[in-house]
Subunit: 228 residues, 2 copies
């Protein structure tokens, strides 16, 4: 018989929130909560209750009117939708500050993303061990990706090396990339890239701070275009 067809496409905004619901539900489950209403879930997630219901409705009708959602069941459904029914090993490129922190950050493995390997181009760094993972040379990337069946790569190199890192990841067979370098990566259309730029986040906060402080306080000294 036909397995459930890949359901209606889920809006990006919803996909981005599902992990949050999942975390809250898991926590609640651990605390012995069996059932939860959209309102409570919304409160814990810092969002609107209607949004929670709409988001969850994209997965199917897994709630019970008058009661709420069964925590364990909902956890299962979200995990399934997100593809978290099995682990996704990741490989980290770049064993600098950030790469080391990521490798050492237990949160990845715990949440289903074990670090299959960490590589660097710098021979000096190869061989050192970070929180149980030995740094290998970047030339071993294809082998790691193949043998460990890695489909997600993390770029944690300096900006200048990021594109090369991405190219190598793609060549090695990775199909998704999480990019921490402050550059726009050029990759084949089929590759999914997400970018996390810490400085950008701070700059957005700066904008709000500046705005709060009263906007453009001093137009004084504004250089004009050095026209001709």
């Amino acid at each position: 018989m036909a397995p459930e067809r890949t359901r209606r496409r889920i809006p990006d905004a919803t996909v981005a929130r599902l992990p949050v619901y999942l975390r809250i539900l898991t926590e609640q489950g651990d605390e012995g909560v069996d059932s939860i209403s959209s309102e409570r879930l919304a409160e814990l997630g810092g969002v609107n209750a209607a949004k929670v219901r709409k988001d969850l409705s994209y997965l199917g009708s897994y709630g019970t009117r008058g009661v709420g959602y069964e925590v364990a069941y909902l956890v299962y459904q979200i995990r399934r939708e997100l593809g978290l029914t099995h682990d996704w090993p990741v490989v980290i490129v770049g064993a600098g500050n950030l790469g080391q922190a990521l490798a050492g950050y237990g949160g990845f493995g715990e949440r289903g993303f074990p670090v299959a390997g960490i590589v660097d181009i710098d021979e000096a760094k190869v061989g050192s061990v970070l929180s149980g993972v030995r740094v290998r040379h970047i030339d071993e990337l294809p082998q790691i990706v193949q043998t460990k069946r890695v489909s997600i790569g993390v770029v944690a190199t300096p900006a200048g090396a990021a594109q090369d890192a991405a190219d190598r990841l793609v060549r090695a067979g990775v199909t998704s990339i999480l990019n921490f370098a402050p550059v726009v990566l050029a990759v084949p259309r089929a590759i999914e890239v997400r970018k996390v730029d810490l400085a950008v986040e701070l700059q957005i906060l700066s904008y709000h701070e500046q705005r709060r402080a009263g906007g453009a306080i001093h137009a004084v000294g504004t250089p004009r275009p050095a026209s001709a």
Copy 2:
């Protein structure tokens, strides 16, 4: 005379892209490029040219038709709008893996966000020096915030300690928070919070990987709600 009024509110989506333009423009400026078209800027930023023009138009009419934008001038205007005409010292709470990496990540200081201090609640970590910054005890937070005029705090603690860290930051006088802990922080309305959750990013990638792999391949074994 009246300084320029705080101009029309800039859409969030635009604010989030301005730092990207800024980085590209700065790079181009360093490479000796004087003038740049919206098309070229769009290409380098991986976005649509019309979007670039619309985004920049929120700052004012700083381009020249038929020519493009003067790089240096545009850099200045974006910096001003984002409040980057002066540095914003930040204080990091949590000297674990991530906190250490952030403190050691030169990119912050370079881009106008020098690390004014890093604190931890663990006496054992206090006193050690990370990339030039000495770890201090969290009780010194108010003093650091006051003397260094810090308005941005970074939460880099484990999930369990994050709310306490946020509370302390707010009490110390910080008005913006960048949160790396996987929890929804409760803070007064006036406080601006941005969240970066590495695991969420991976889960979003996982969703796409799973979808690529053919969606719900096995409805087999799906547990049903353990009703009564």
